[in-house]
């Protein structure tokens, strides 16, 4: 596709529910990133993939957060047993290779009630 595509765009989850957020990176992009953005704040790094390898997951806030990219293209960010503090925009980004321009999707807006 022309840009990074994320779905769903909006998700309301009840506390304790599991959610899965999908990211389709720009075709051919090797690097894929997940960021979390709270209201009024800058994006905060969660995790990074190069192809199917998860090279850095140091930003994941707890073991309830899990990301995968099994075939080196589409990625899924899963949040188990959601809590209210998980409410945020989850941004996916991709780049052609390490050190190249990083392009962001429109984000998935998660509200936990």
């Amino acid at each position: 596709g022309a840009g990074v595509s994320q779905s769903p765009r909006y998700k309301v989850a009840k506390r304790g529910q599991d959610v899965a957020l999908r990211c389709d990176p720009i075709s051919g992009h090797v690097s894929l990133f997940w960021y979390q953005q709270a209201l009024g704040q800058g994006p905060e790094f969660l995790t990074y993939f190069q192809n199917e390898a998860q090279l850095d997951k140091s930003g994941l806030p707890s073991d309830r957060f899990f990301a995968e990219r099994p075939e080196g293209s589409v990625s899924t960010l899963k949040i188990q047993r959601t809590q209210q503090e998980d409410s945020a925009v989850y941004l996916c980004a991709s780049s052609l290779a390490t050190g190249n321009t990083i392009y962001f999707g429109e984000g998935s807006w998660l509200t936990v009630v």
Binding site: V4, F33, L39, G40, Q41, G42, P43, E44, F45, Y48, D56, G59, L91, T98, G99, T101, I102, Y103, F104, G105, E106, G107
Partner: protein, 111 residues
């Protein structure tokens, strides 16, 4: 962590003025810097980037200046338009690692 609230630094300008948005970055080893524009309800949009071997780079209506001595980055927007109203973030990157974002500045352009 500390709740800094929703009070972003704000720059208000008139349409047609030049705007300068500043950013102090944290890591002296960072070698790649990017400015992003984020409109309400949208993801960050790439504007312009600069590598550490340069001190100035120009795009269409935008110029980025890098001062490595004081770890300072600025974005200059010429002839600012109402469509430029958004939150602007600088981001730094070290040797191809992940981007670290600054706190953001809200630009408000009045017609």
């Amino acid at each position: 962590g500390e709740n800094v609230g929703l009070h972003l630094p704000t720059l208000s300008v008139q349409e047609g003025d030049n705007s300068i948005i500043n950013c102090a970055y944290s890591n002296s080893a960072s070698d790649y810097f990017i400015w992003y524009k984020q409109e309400s309800g949208k993801g960050p949009q790439f504007i312009i980037d600069i590598r550490s071997n340069m001190d100035k780079r120009q795009g269409q209506r935008v110029t980025v200046l890098l001062n490595k001595t004081v770890k300072h980055l600025s974005l200059q927007i010429a002839a600012t338009q109402p469509g430029d109203s958004a939150v602007y973030f600088c981001a730094e990157n070290m040797r191809g690692s992940t981007l670290t974002f600054g706190k953001g500045t809200m630009l408000l352009v009045s017609p």
